[in-house]
């Protein structure tokens, strides 16, 4: 609740809070990332070598894109578990429908995007309009999407078209194209969320749907659209995977669900809804990916790799939560509310 009040209060309260808060989430992620880079430089320099980054950054870009999609849903206080199905469906549509031929590539991509809009609309209808629990609705949608994955692919992987491999796996001026895609999407999301009326309303609704409704905003529509745009993000991520991985499996989305939630949380978006932090989300995606590269580069056994990643995540989220609590206490004092216990 403190989150709601403080976020809802933004537009009215003036610049001091507004400039402080993004800095807090952002600073945490930046510091964690810089620390990780220093640790890599000392213990596993190969993880931050040019070649090492060229191999790992495309996967960070994928996590960033699905993370941005998940962020939109989390901003509305929801959860999107249909991410895995959405990503996998986009992968199999672009690899199977194109049949390995460049000529069919763009029509298959258009079809994948259309499917994403349909899936997102159904999610939006169920959660935004019919008020179903987001977890229940999207887990059902995930099963439906996997049904479609099997219908399209029969579960069989297929090799991507050469053009797609070039688009998603290629480089422009030494930067992997997938990273450029992620950056463009991040700028787009940031611009729309922070600089347009639609985006401001979207955040206000996430922060306090009741107040937004009282103010005459179309709460249901905005909440529903969060799911549609989230699916479009997953779809783009799936299309990129089909180019980055030559022969992607039909279940490529499975391993992305947890990272997508992790980066949203690491970036400081409240699971109760409210403000989103696109730039921090992308940085957190880099952080998370770099962490697994670090664990790989150190060359410890697999069990230790998993533990290192888990500890770093706990550390990242722990640092963030502690800062949160302090901040929340201050804010609570300031606004004379007594709801800090929700932040623990």
């Amino acid at each position: 609740m403190a989150q709601y009040q403080q976020s809802a209060g933004h537009d009215g309260l003036g610049l001091d809070l507004r400039s402080l808060k993004p800095a807090r989430g952002f600073v945490t992620v930046v510091i964690s990332t810089l620390m990780l880079i220093v640790v890599c430089a000392i213990f596993a320099p190969s993880a931050i070598s040019a070649g090492g980054l060229a191999g790992s950054l495309p996967f960070a870009a994928i996590i960033a894109i699905v993370g941005l999609g998940q962020m939109l849903v989390v901003q509305q206080g929801g959860f999107d578990l249909s991410l895995a199905g959405g990503v996998s469906l986009a992968v199999v549509i672009t690899t199977h429908m194109s049949g390995g031929s460049d000529a069919q590539l763009f029509s298959s991509i258009a079809f994948a995007l259309a499917c994403a809009v349909v899936a997102g609309s159904v999610n939006g209808l169920l959660v935004g309009v019919l008020r179903l629990n987001a977890i229940v609705a999207t887990i059902g949608m995930n099963a439906l999407l996997y049904g479609a994955v099997f219908a399209v692919s029969g579960g069989v992987p297929r090799i991507t078209t050469p053009l797609m491999a070039q688009i998603a796996g290629g480089k422009t001026l030494g930067v992997p194209n997938s990273v450029l895609f992620a950056l463009v999407i991040m700028l787009l999301v940031s611009f729309v969320l922070k600089k347009t009326v639609i985006g401001r309303r979207f955040e206000a609704i996430g922060a306090n749907p009741a107040a937004a409704h009282a103010a005459g905003l179309k709460v249901q529509l905005y909440q529903a659209m969060a799911y549609v745009f989230a699916q479009l993000h997953y779809c783009v991520a799936g299309i990129l995977i089909s180019g980055i991985t030559r022969e992607p499996t039909a279940f490529q989305g499975d391993s992305l669900l947890l990272p997508s939630v992790a980066v949203v949380v690491l970036a400081g978006t409240s699971l109760l809804g409210g403000r989103g932090f696109p730039i921090s989300t992308v940085l957190a995606a880099y952080f998370l990916n770099q962490l697994s590269q670090f664990a790989l580069a150190v060359g410890v056994p697999f069990s230790a790799q998993t533990i290192i990643q888990a500890l770093a995540l706990v550390f990242g989220i722990g640092v963030y939560s502690l800062r949160w609590k302090q901040a929340a206490t201050k804010r609570a004092l300031k606004s004379k509310t007594e709801e800090t216990d929700n932040e623990a």
Binding site: A54, R158, T245, A297
Partner: protein, 354 residues
């Protein structure tokens, strides 16, 4: 049996294939493992959703079709769900299927169900994945695959191409999988201390997932200036990852692995640009199911069981010596088929739906 037969028709989660059509091809010559007693046969998969499994399943059906005494052949896919795999086994036993060939992906978790079926009088033949238990007590016969043998084949080839020793990077599937452990044991039998394994013990974990393989491989390449040979037990999953070497301006090294059409074609396309790229493959083992089917059919119909009890994957391609085969790419066929399998290439293409 009558009741069971009725249940049989009621079950809907299972694909039923009529053997009548296929039987005509088998009339020419009945193999010795096919006895005179009529029987029904089920092939149970723990997870059927990749091209390797599709080819394997089709191979199993093809083998069963050689025996006219098999009156019915059914297939069930556990879809990677242990609960479903167990219930498939139970329902097949309840339906009165005479013999079942089981790919027990879940390992010992399916053993109780197999044991129950065995005690109920079904001929149970698990294959490839070790499910624990004892032959004759928990099931009729286990038809394993000699992964140690694969390791020995790779090790011998590595000694040929790198007589002075070198750095070996070994990639396998999920952490602790017994296949990878056995293969390592096989390699260690042949390779001495001159050959250094640069991966974490016992192997680099890839989950046999192409995208994770790519990340693992790029981390290993960045870390190690010198990789002389890569060993992987799932060759086609490397196709997406090997171009990473170009990022570092290095040649793809020698590769000892299992076969796949996409991998062979990748070799053909990239061998000129990569002077150190040599390829050695063992058959990826789709035909393991044939041996298991032969055993199950022999025990169920009163035929003569085959002499082999373990499937030994033969060496398939060797780009250096060209024996037993040079690297063979069929660009006209899908990348996800296995030319090493006994099944005809076109039939495989049909099996994987392309």
């Amino acid at each position: 049996m009558k009741l069971n037969a009725m249940k049989m028709t009621a079950a809907c989660a299972v694909t039923t294939l009529s053997m009548g059509l296929a039987a005509s091809t088998a009339l020419a010559q009945t193999p010795s493992w096919c006895g005179p007693n009529e029987a029904s046969l089920a092939l149970l998969d723990g997870f059927g959703g990749n091209s390797w499994r599709l080819v394997t399943t089709a191979s199993g059906a093809e083998e069963a079709a050689k025996c006219p005494s098999i009156t019915e052949y059914v297939y069930a896919d556990g879809q990677g769900d242990t609960q479903k795999a167990i219930s498939d086994i139970n329902s097949m036993a309840a339906r009165g299927i005479k013999a079942m060939v089981v790919f027990g992906d879940a390992g010992p978790a399916v053993l109780p169900a197999l044991t129950n079926a065995h005690r109920a009088g079904t001929i149970v033949v698990p294959y490839r994945v070790n499910v624990g238990g004892v032959e004759g007590e928990n099931y009729a016969k286990f038809i394993g695959s000699s992964f140690v043998e694969d390791g020995v084949s790779w090790g011998n080839w590595i000694k040929e191409v790198l007589p002075e020793g070198g750095n070996v990077l070994f990639l396998s599937g999920p952490a602790g999988n017994s296949q990878g452990v056995d293969e390592l044991a096989g390699m260690k039998q042949v390779l001495d201390d001159k050959y250094v394994f640069i991966n974490p013990e016992p192997f680099a974990v890839t989950n046999w997932d192409p995208s994770l393989t790519q990340q693992v491989l790029s981390a290993e390449i960045a870390k190690n200036d010198k990789i002389d040979v890569i060993v992987s037990d799932f060759g086609p999953s490397l196709v997406g990852a090997l171009p990473v070497f170009a990022e570092f301006g290095r040649s793809i090294p020698a590769l000892a692995t299992s076969d796949g059409n996409s991998l062979s074609c990748f070799y053909e396309q990239n061998k000129d640009a990569n002077p150190d790229f040599k390829l050695f493959t063992v058959a990826t083992g789709n035909d393991n199911v044939r041996l298991a089917v032969q055993w199950a059919v022999a025990l169920a119909t009163g035929g003569t069981p085959p002499t082999d009890e373990i499937f030994k994957a033969p060496v398939y391609e060797n780009s250096v010596s060209g024996t037993p085969n040079p690297v063979t790419c069929r660009p006209d066929l899908p990348g996800s088929i296995y030319l090493s399998a006994e099944m005809a290439d076109d039939a495989q293409a049909k099996a994987v739906g392309q």
